[in-house]
Symmetry: C2
Subunit: 383 residues, 2 copies
């Protein structure tokens, strides 16, 4: 039996109203659906697009219930909502895609690593940190340099700390425990490249987007190059591992898989995001079907659109806030000066230094040329 | 001095809330702007996208004023608003793009033809029909077969009648005069092909999209093929004529130029639409920058985006209502069955037989293959 209504627009509820929800909403609406948005503040990037804007969060029983009632099916734009809230939705008789089960295997990164590891999917070596765990035990197992990570709520480098001695270990552990989450430790991977793959899966199909290279600045995704400059053999392996990872967590919907290519040309999974991902923004213009459209299709268990690149190369650069103040582009004439650059502004009310405010994408036949032009364009924009 | 606000989102007011306003709004919002929509009914295709939805029309002074007050600049999605209402906006101190002047030269098709003709831009021969004009006078000047057209408010074949004898002449004249508009007569063009071109113009730039072939069914645009299968020389001529036409009406903004390729390989302008146009929907996926994004850019006098095709061919087919009832796709699984087809659903509350409810686009290297697949897909969709 299909969820999709034939008598009125089907309403897809999205937990979160940020840029990922916004770009998914554009596609949902274009296909003839409606969206309901739950976000803590009014006028969020996605909230402005719909009359079904609910201001509040999952812990506000009344608003949460109204949001669920309005939605025919529910999805999310981040993995930080305690999976038990998703179970509550499921228990009320509505589907959540990806499911509470999948989220429960992802949102605790230690459980995520254990789940992958159990299925023999390659991940960096890791170890739980218990109250009695000592620095020397970790060093013995993980080597001189390792990373401590919060099990939950880590993103864009928050909740991570690299450790090379006893002092750093103690300090980091104190700092991370302030995040009210337990920690675990991972081997530090001296990677050649960071890679990412988007995987879309329904009950009938599974498709992958091209393997891309992601370049971070201060732990935040900055530049994405599609496709990555690695061998075909490595690409194939990366796609196989990514598909296995999604299967390992019983994942349906769209998933961003972050991976390392290490010094020995081994592919290791860094982490899985159960949603559209910054590394897939390039797909809006560069692929036949964008990650956002396929997100919506997968949530509704519809046929997945073609995921191939339509030009040989694409580069995406994030527009990170350059100032604190209103989230308005201050110089549109300069921002649109390169007539092939695609500009996306997220419409956040406030800009902050380093905050993701938008992105640009450029397609072409000559990778070094489009990287140069995109960088030049990014430098010009004041946002 | 720029119109674009740096302290809050710039609000682009659109007169009309149909699919053209909707697709322009998607691009305006994506670029970081906001839209205000004036439409006679609530929950119009564009009205659902914004909190600034004004229900009413230009003849409702109060609503019209609120709409103007909320907008920083105003544009339109059809040419049927009496240009004197646009003058009222201009007199209140706000810009309308395209201007009341341009609209005044377009909305009366007889004035439009006279304006073009005066600038030596090729149009079919035409003659005003005055109260004393006889069938034989028209026949003498225009030949055995000619077309009577309402000067105003004609679209999709409404307001046109082909005449081959005295009886048809009298009947058509009576029928058309019920439209409360004077009429004029035009030579019947036995065309080889109908062509169309989108032209975008700001104070600084003018750019054209590729020449496309349009195929009508019952006077409604049905299929668009980009680019048209005509010689390079004819394409060049078509683009030159289209640019001259936009200049002749002092046009700024985006314009859809409809043309005939006649039996003697002459290019004649049929009519000009001062807005995004059905013949340009293919540009959403097929060109670097869509007609809708360039509409918004031109309204704000921003740099115009690149207008080139990114694949050799594109075909667009309108989804015309197949039934009367709710405007909901009844079979999404079938509608999305071809994984390269781009589906656009306009979200109109009601479907009617023949009403424009959406469109599909397909890109490719082999024109006959994509036409076949697009037609197959269009037949499948129940909307």
């Amino acid at each position: 039996m299909s969820l999709i209504r034939k008598d009125r627009k089907t309403v897809i509820g999205i937990l979160g109203g940020g840029q990922l929800a916004r770009m998914s909403s554009f596609q949902a609406i274009r296909l003839g659906f409606d969206v309901a948005i739950l976000e803590k503040t009014a006028n969020s990037p996605a909230g402005v697009l719909t009359k079904y804007e609910f201001v509040g969060w999952v812990d506000d029983e009344k608003v949460f219930k109204k949001f669920i009632d309005k939605s025919d099916i529910i999805t999310l734009e981040n993995e930080f909502i305690d999976y038990r809230y998703l179970e509550m939705i499921e228990n009320s008789g509505k589907l959540v895609i990806p499911s509470s089960k999948t989220i429960s295997l992802i949102q605790d990164k230690f459980i995520q690593k254990k789940t992958l590891s159990r299925k023999k999917i390659p991940v960096p070596e890791f170890l739980e940190i218990k109250s009695h765990t000592t620095y020397s035990e970790l060093k013995k197992f993980l080597g001189n340099k390792f990373v401590i990570k919060s099990k939950k709520m880590g993103y864009d480098g928050y909740g991570n700390a690299t450790v090379e001695n006893q002092k750093q270990f103690s300090e980091s552990l104190t700092r991370l425990s302030a995040r009210h989450s337990e920690s675990y430790a991972e081997k530090f991977v001296n990677f050649k490249k960071e890679l990412a793959v988007m995987v879309v899966r329904t009950k009938k199909e599974i498709k992958t987007y091209p393997v891309v290279e992601t370049i971070q600045k201060n732990h935040i995704c900055h530049t994405v190059i599609a496709s990555a400059d690695i061998t075909e053999k490595l690409k194939k392996l990366t796609l196989e591992i990514s598909i296995e990872a999604v299967k390992a967590i019983s994942g349906y919907g769209i998933f961003g898989i972050e991976l390392f290519l290490d010094e020995e040309d081994k592919i290791l999974i860094n982490e899985i995001a159960p949603r559209p991902h910054n590394s897939g923004h390039y797909t809006i213009e560069a692929c036949t079907t964008s990650q956002f459209e396929n997100h919506i299709r997968a949530v509704l268990n519809l046929p997945i659109g073609d995921t191939n690149l339509i030009k040989p190369f694409a580069v995406m650069i994030n527009l990170l806030g350059k100032k604190n103040g209103v989230g308005i582009v201050q110089n549109y004439n300069e921002a649109l000066n390169d007539d092939e650059v695609h500009l996306h502004v997220y419409g956040k009310e406030q800009s902050r230094v380093g905050r993701k405010m938008g992105h640009i994408t450029l397609l072409g036949d000559d990778l070094s040329e489009i990287i140069r032009r995109a960088k030049k364009n990014e430098r010009r924009i004041i946002l």
